[in-house]
Symmetry: C2
Amino acid sequence: MVVECWKILCKLSIMTGLEVSRLLLGLNCGRPLETIIPPESAKALSSKHDFDLQAFRFSADNEFLREPRVVRVGLIQNSIAIPTTAPFSDQKKAIFEKLRPIIDAAGASEPVDGESTEFLQEFARKYNMVIVNPILERDINHGETIWNTAVIIGNHGNIIGKHRKVNENHIPRVGDFNESTYYMEGNTGHPVFETAYGKIAVNICYGRHHPLNWLAFGLNGAEIVFNPSATVGELSEPMWPIEARNAAIANSYFVGSINRVGTEIFPNPFTSGDGKPQHPDFGHFYGSSHFSAPDASCTPSLSRYKDGLLISDMDLNLCRQLKDKWGFRMTARYELYADMFARYLKPDFEPQLISDPLLHKKSS
Amino acid sequence: MVVECWKILCKLSIMTGLEVSRLLLGLNCGRPLETIIPPESAKALSSKHDFDLQAFRFSADNEFLREPRVVRVGLIQNSIAIPTTAPFSDQKKAIFEKLRPIIDAAGASEPVDGESTEFLQEFARKYNMVIVNPILERDINHGETIWNTAVIIGNHGNIIGKHRKVNENHIPRVGDFNESTYYMEGNTGHPVFETAYGKIAVNICYGRHHPLNWLAFGLNGAEIVFNPSATVGELSEPMWPIEARNAAIANSYFVGSINRVGTEIFPNPFTSGDGKPQHPDFGHFYGSSHFSAPDASCTPSLSRYKDGLLISDMDLNLCRQLKDKWGFRMTARYELYADMFARYLKPDFEPQLISDPLLHKKSS
């Protein structure tokens, strides 16, 4: 199995462990979050390499039976580094170089006494991070099939597992994004990965439009779901602030939304059969990465135009606290929907439609 | 079957037909909507009776095979009219009197040449309206059971059908809203009602928190789903602007969100076993009724404190246009979720969890 990495780093997300003295603000339902001051070294990197840097904190109530479970999570959004016409290997190297200082800034956000011990993989081991790395996977063992995959790297640098984008069970067929022509529907279910810092899952890109997809990760126990995306303003920007927040609310978990940033010009203008004139780009990838919490609060978004790193501390206890408060799992009645889907999936399904018997009555 | 009406009118929604010359603005994705100037008679009623009055218009693209299907829809939010200690019949009468001028204003929003013909039921026939009327239903034929029901009144004043709040398949057990103690889970499925002006459904109150519930109305063909609610600020306000908009986006239909308004004091303070001190009210019902469209656009909200009427014209063709643009139905893969629910519902269900084998490795 060869792992290629071009698509990927535009969608990098990072999670790193940290003991943080808890706040006692209670649930910050929609209230502004507390801002974290990043360390000077991180601020220096962001100004030297010109990327957006923001940091916040989600709090939860104290519990009798569990200690706070505060983790620090980072989202990186970035543009490509050199033109789309450059050789693939050069593009890949250039993106690595661009990301290095941003990941260093994420690592610098760990306290000086952080437990970075082993060094199995460059950044994961250097900073004791879990890294979520969406890639384009070439599956030699299955006819060289291409999958849209996310690789989960543990905080010791080990690969915990990979996830063939379950959300790419749902492959976009919209506008210029005819992605079913270049990878396969996923076949790995809706896996949740138990890491040193919490249970995480990845709902990639277009999968965010499917509430069932978000739900499945929730039923499998996710505490944080990352949504690495590459989407453009004209297509999805009005939906962007809504869907991730709704998923966090409905499933009582945190969501980390990451979007590519920048406008990429191709040498040959193209069309996609949607009646639009030919154009040399997909439109503007609008960045605006952000975190959503299960209590409906959320962070501000990163820049719409610049590379950026968004850091947030979050007490994962908030997930169960919201489950207990709202009881969505206990009121869900999934059996009703299992039955409805079974009926809906039959070719002869007829909707439950009650027509007004006077529908075609003439008015006198 | 006796229909009682106290709970109800705080949740009234109205739909009335109207031929409107179409706009050619195209899809207004998140852009400000065009404002409609209500007729003078409606404005006069709103100032005389001191209720909020707003009116907007959602447009859709022209189609080759279908004429525009513009309907005018109204949402009414209101407070109670006399103290909660007054006799039930007096409270009911008082709410009727309070609502009369607001419904007249909704009717006045029909053009002078409107086709009001028959007079089977006061307002429906007077204004050629379809009226959605959520009630508390006493079911004599089933042991005097109480159901949380919505009655759909056709534009000829006829009762098209009733719907025992499918969404109250999902009965809240949160804070002071222990509603499972005073009505039954619905047993009428997820019906969609085909009216003279479009296919409508009702997702009442707490049902808005369940994406599956919204989905089921969509699978049954709803073009507008009303969400009459009675919810308070401290509990749900941060979620209010998110959930309805997400439902409209995910299911390619319009959503009309109605919330009760006002703070209601009861003579005997109460608690609900959630650790809070006793209190004589549920909190503030924050109104903020609004419309959401399938293209992610939405109207401003009605007042947080005053009774109000929100009118909107909407071209229902927008629903199919968004389905064709985004293809959510074609990429949904419901079979995966039917299978997952079947597994999840078993007592021995085990989540798809992949643990880091180094999870408990000591750092050296």
